[in-house]
Symmetry: C2
Subunit: 771 residues, 2 copies
């Protein structure tokens, strides 16, 4: 976790408070700015207004300088372009990383089963592609690709070979997951999980140093490959967003515009998140909307355009690497040949209900398990936990062909329509020998024994996936849950789809089928049901809406199927919302106690600022500083005795009129600096926040002037302001604190709502929730 | 303009200030609420915070009531669903209207040239489709369709027939445009123009009564058909957004949740704008992004999802009407068969530059012409102006086949790739007779004489379109400029495309073509150039970015061509921005003096609130009310003498401590009401804003208690707040006014920044701009 910390150590140049208050001419006692004034401590919230103000000042300076010389003009143009350069670099790097991860996962997943003799770095598919001896029907079997048992004993079939393969499959899985969890434990603890809850929190203005560091980037990339290859029920999509954000943070450090401003940095990170989803699914527009809808907090229009650029660059970089070997951009490319019918909306909506229920079940069970992990002995043995879950997964997964293969392959097969050339078990229909076989438009057929076997296996796989995913998500390895969620939905959807298809075939005369499904027509596409189910389950877990539908739209590429997807997504969200408003990411944010003020929460309590502000009636009085009568010692005592993030500065204790607000960190640094560098500042020196310190007799200790660290425009509301307005202001302006003034009476009372060690937003909402 | 006014007349029920201030128990002298308290006057700005607060109160009330009985629970559920119902209705109606408009325009455009004998209500295309005697090659010529000359004189060919057709073409055009402008003039003046600038202003919180009324909806729909059919250089896309917003406003009146809350109403309107673009182009995702990027001001995530729903419903309604007769959703469906090559980025970027220059030229010339219309005699003869422009357009357009037909048909042809079956002049290439003709993959061929003729005609059409569009946009008829802009770009693009294609064919050995264009290959797709040009020109005029690219993406349906489109859009925006930041809509907003605070404007002045607040040093003092010493007469005098929108209420004139803020309109209504209904309130009655009025001797006149109309939580900032922060607060919170407090000294000074007749935002920005 040291990488980001070190990259942030240099952020001392600017003294924003000085510029903000227009008091630059008051630099009277120090030639250098205070070190670190204007930066934030780890696990603290940033002040969006201040960051914005700093950036405007910076911009203003550059603009005025640019008129001075050609060189400054060029520098200002470079500065204006730096945003685009960062986006380009993010797109290139995250696209490349995604491609490398895809290739490595493919290879290592297959390594669990066997090896390519002609070139050991080929995956099964690549191995058989390059082979000339493969016929089309047998394209999965080629002599170059040998299973471990065949290679070691020479026997490809038989019980012995099966057991040996089984054993080696488990061994490889354990090895991969052990490596993954060890690397995470030793080198980068932040590399675990999906990362999306933390990124949401960071984008909302929280500082978690090292979370997006270089080290995290490296370890997360490597361990993601290991974790996915180990066959655990997890996906790479969420972690890819984290990886892309690490890339974004990395490139921020190239430009002081972004590295020195936490607000601007977050604009870049929003765009990086879009690039991450873009490469995860090959859906650039969906990625941008995901970032807008799900991840980002502050999303100006400029960011929208840049995010789109980054997402596109990333998608095209990935395509030029071509990890799927088919020039397709998208993860699951599907093409359906028949339209859907209104009557089918009923099963689609039922799938939506299933998705919503699954979302609720998963969130509740997973959160309960994660809480148990946090609070009991279980949390102390993360390596053992990963090993145990991997072992169980591998043992149970191997016998079932639908769980043995990688989850994305499974989803891909479930989404597929059964064309004439499809040879999989799921497409084992009984063909009418009298009919000519057109390639695309195959009428409904009765299911063969293969389909019935597949149905049983899929049902078992469904139960297995549902249970194991609950225990997998949240372990100390990189783990996304897009793919497992989609898998659950796709399995359920395919089962429903086949059921509807067979019903329609065998009961053409039923009233529900009569109108749209004549004998010999191709009415039902089970693959579409799988897709709708996947969307419903993903929606139930994450509560995505527009971005979910758009991502699915980009997978199919046709507006035709948007209505079924949308019906399922809406139903799933409604059903899930009925049991609890929070998606999995918000639940994990809450579980971990991150200070996140959800933009979407409706604030329904009827309280006023006066009801929640601190201190309350019986609390000790508000800790304030006076503008011209506090000594250095008083200030130091105050800092030591309290843990507030900052202090209001008032005229005097008698007349508590507000002058401004001073941040704890700035105050500490300023006093430390003055004591070291400024002669005559001793404990009894008076601290002045006024514009001019009075001329004092020489016998008095030298005064300490601190107006430059004083924020002269703190945000205030009256005590009659409804809390919903206050919360709205906090959300929209990204405030760090808010002062409450009461001006009806004779003295002006000042209360800052919250100001303790823990950041304001969480405490703030905490108070409201208590009422 | 009376429809919206009348629909708003009922908005008197709620007394939001009362609920907001939690002073409901003070209803001591009036059983009924004040009529109209809490509504806004025409041409005034709404207070977003107040609207939001009102909605929360409403919601809270319904939630608490819903626990009382089943009936209330059902009512609360209906209320929660009303948003979706409104969206559904908007989608259905705007889709239907768009379909009807498309059909009517098709028919009336063809009516200028001839009539279908078998059924006069058929357009040319429909007429020949239904005919059995048409062969595929001659599919545009069928005996049922007769030109006017043929019908009237029996001669289809010859100079006489040509002149007669020419004459009748002009006559029909003049008739249509005369009807259009007359209808607009007489029945709905607000139906003219594209409507997008006004809708942007309305969505930012301005009230223009009647602008979205039923009458405007009806007249705009009818006159839009007439205006487009008249052959003027205008499109139906912008007006369709206006029509959809009128639908939105219409359905708002069904639910008090929306009709009584100007803030909630604007959420619906944002979604309606998305539906409008969705049906204009058949691009639902693009429509939502257009609404987000270009039109809307306040766009919560809930609106995003609902907008998407409305846009989808609208698109599918339109498709089920099927006005283009091809089951396609999109206006210009294209399918290209060859990829693009990196070297082609050079002409694409050049097209971007052209688009940017065209955007700049168009905006400057059009604004100059509109200003002239506003300020000179020209503006007094709108009917004559329309007639004159229509006449000139018709006279010049008829001889050129590319301007005679409707502009969307022209664009469609320009976008098209020349397939093997294409018989148009633009596809008159010289085929190699030795080659077999595959349907899709036709190698580059030399251009035939038809192509060269087409080039000349296109060049003339380009000049004509550029000039005439400048004079057309802004006349007193419904007119959009998406289509004319795209036409300019498409013509330029197609010309460039053909030039590049012929260069590549004739000079295979040039270094720039060598690497990617072998002889016999299909390298260049001129249709793609047309599309890129159209995107560039549209981008230059409107400054759309993401939504532009997404709309174009939805037209082609493939990610393949996003990079060329994006390159052109980016270049065009940069070039155009270099000459002036404002797009055509912002320019028209400024020209018309609407109070619009652009979210995208960067605020770069370095001023503090103290520099812009009013009154200034030499101004008369701030007009304030005291909490317990102003008489009714004083208040009436103050209202008469000033034109401020509201007044701060202070403790006393000596100690100007702020108590709250009272709106001028509320004050006027409250006093009027009290004088009418409350005995004992006379001119010398004292107005009390305090919580309890003192017990007065019976001889004194009855006091008037007005605390319930007092906003106890007015928004305040300190005078040291930087103006960029103030502007940010105004934008993000949608304030109507802001008070500036100065608390360093002994008295608390209060200044409201602006408060005159014209709404705050424009004045506010006006002040800033003056400095």
């Amino acid at each position: 976790s040291s990488s980001m910390r070190s990259s942030l150590a240099g952020v001392s140049g600017a003294t924003p408070t000085e510029e903000m208050n227009g008091a630059g001419n008051l630099m009277d006692f120090l030639d250098e700015p205070f070190p670190d004034v204007g930066t934030y401590e780890d696990f603290h919230t940033i002040d969006w207004l201040r960051e914005k103000s700093r950036d405007t000042d910076r911009h203003r300076k550059i603009t005025s300088k640019s008129k001075e010389s050609i060189w400054e003009l060029i520098k200002s143009l470079l500065d204006a372009w730096s945003g685009w350069v960062v986006m380009l670099l993010i797109g290139l790097l995250s696209g490349t990383l995604a491609g490398v991860i895809d290739l490595a996962v493919d290879w290592m997943t297959d390594l669990k089963e066997g090896v390519c003799l002609s070139a050991f770095w080929y995956s099964h598919e690549q191995c058989c592609w390059t082979s000339n001896e493969t016929t089309f029907d047998d394209r999965d079997k080629c002599p170059q690709w040998q299973k471990w048992a065949e290679l070691m004993t020479g026997h490809a079939e038989g019980a012995g070979a099966y057991v040996l393969n089984y054993f080696l499959y488990i061994l490889w899985a354990l090895l991969f997951s052990f490596l993954a969890v060890s690397l995470v434990r030793v080198f980068a603890p932040y590399a675990c999980g999906s990362g999306i809850p933390e990124i949401k929190t960071i984008l909302s203005g929280f500082i978690i140093r090292g979370y997006l560091g270089k080290w995290t980037l490296l370890i997360k990339t490597v361990t993601l490959v290991l974790a996915v290859s180990s066959g655990l029920s997890l996906g790479k999509e969420g972690p890819l967003v984290h990886v892309a954000c690490c890339c974004g943070n990395l490139f921020c450090s190239l430009f002081s515009k972004y590295s020195k401003n936490e607000g601007k940095r977050r604009e870049v990170l929003s765009a990086a998140a879009a690039a991450g989803v873009s490469v995860a699914f090959g859906a650039p527009i969906g990625g941008v909307l995901f970032s807008l809808e799900e991840v980002s907090y502050y999303f100006p229009l400029k960011t929208l355009w840049r995010s789109f650029f980054a997402a596109l660059v990333a998608a095209f970089t990935l395509r030029s690497i071509n990890p799927f070997g088919n020039s397709r951009l998208v993860l699951f490319y599907v093409e359906y040949h028949t339209p859907w019918y209104m009557a089918e909306l009923v099963p689609f909506i039922l799938l939506g209900v299933f998705g919503g229920l699954w979302g609720t079940l998963f969130i509740r069970a997973n959160i309960a398990w994660c809480r148990r992990r946090k609070t009991t002995q279980l949390g102390k043995y993360p390596v053992l936990e990963v090993i145990a879950v991997t072992g169980i997964t591998a043992v149970l997964a191997y016998p079932n062909p639908y769980t043995r293969r990688s989850t994305s392959e499974l989803i891909s097969e479930l989404f597929n329509d059964c064309g004439a050339l499809e040879s999989s078990q799921l497409c084992d229909y009984i063909n009418n020998p009298n009919m000519s076989r057109p390639v695309d438009d195959i009428p409904d057929r009765p299911a063969g024994p293969g389909v019935y076997t597949a149905l049983w296996q899929l049902a078992l796989a469904l139960i297995f996936k549902i249970v194991i995913t609950i225990f997998t998500f949240g372990m100390k390895i990189p783990s996304g849950l897009f793919i497992p969620s989609m898998a659950v939905g796709a399995i359920a959807g395919r089962i429903v789809g086949i059921a509807v298809e067979q019903m329609a075939y065998h009961h053409h005369d039923w009233i529900i089928f009569k109108n749209w499904c004549r004998p010999g027509a191709d009415c039902v596409t089970p693959g579409l049901y799988a897709m709708v189910g996947a969307a419903a389950c993903l929606g139930g877990v994450t509560r995505m809406t527009v971005s979910l539908v758009v991502i699915m739209f980009e997978l199919t590429g046709g507006l035709e199927y948007i209505v079924p997807l949308m019906a399922a997504a809406v139903t799933s969200k409604w059903v899930a919302d009925a049991f609890g408003k929070e998606g999995i990411y918000e639940s994990h944010i809450q579980l971990n106690g991150y200070p996140y003020l959800d933009v979407r929460d409706e604030f329904t309590h009827r309280t006023l600022a006066t009801d929640v502000m601190r201190p309350r009636r019986n609390d000790p009085p508000l800790a304030v500083l006076t503008q011209d009568s506090t000594t250095v010692e008083d200030v130091e005592t105050l800092i030591k005795d309290t843990d507030y993030n900052g202090f209001p500065v008032v005229v005097s204790r008698e007349s508590e009129r507000l002058i401004g607000f001073v941040q704890r960190r700035d105050l500490t640094l300023a006093i430390k600096n003055a004591r070291q560098k400024q002669d005559g500042v001793v404990s009894s020196s008076v601290v002045y926040f006024t514009e001019d310190a009075p001329q004092l007799p020489a016998s008095n200790p030298q005064p300490l002037k601190l107006r430059r660290i004083l924020n002269l425009s703190p945000f205030t509301v009256t005590d009659h302001t409804p809390m919903e307005t206050v919360v709205d202001i906090f959300r929209k302006l990204g405030l760090r604190q808010c002062l409450v003034t009461r001006s009806g009476g004779f003295t002006l009372m000042i209360r800052h709502i919250v100001g303790s060690e823990t950041p304001i937003l969480s405490k703030h909402t905490g108070i409201v929730a208590m009422k």
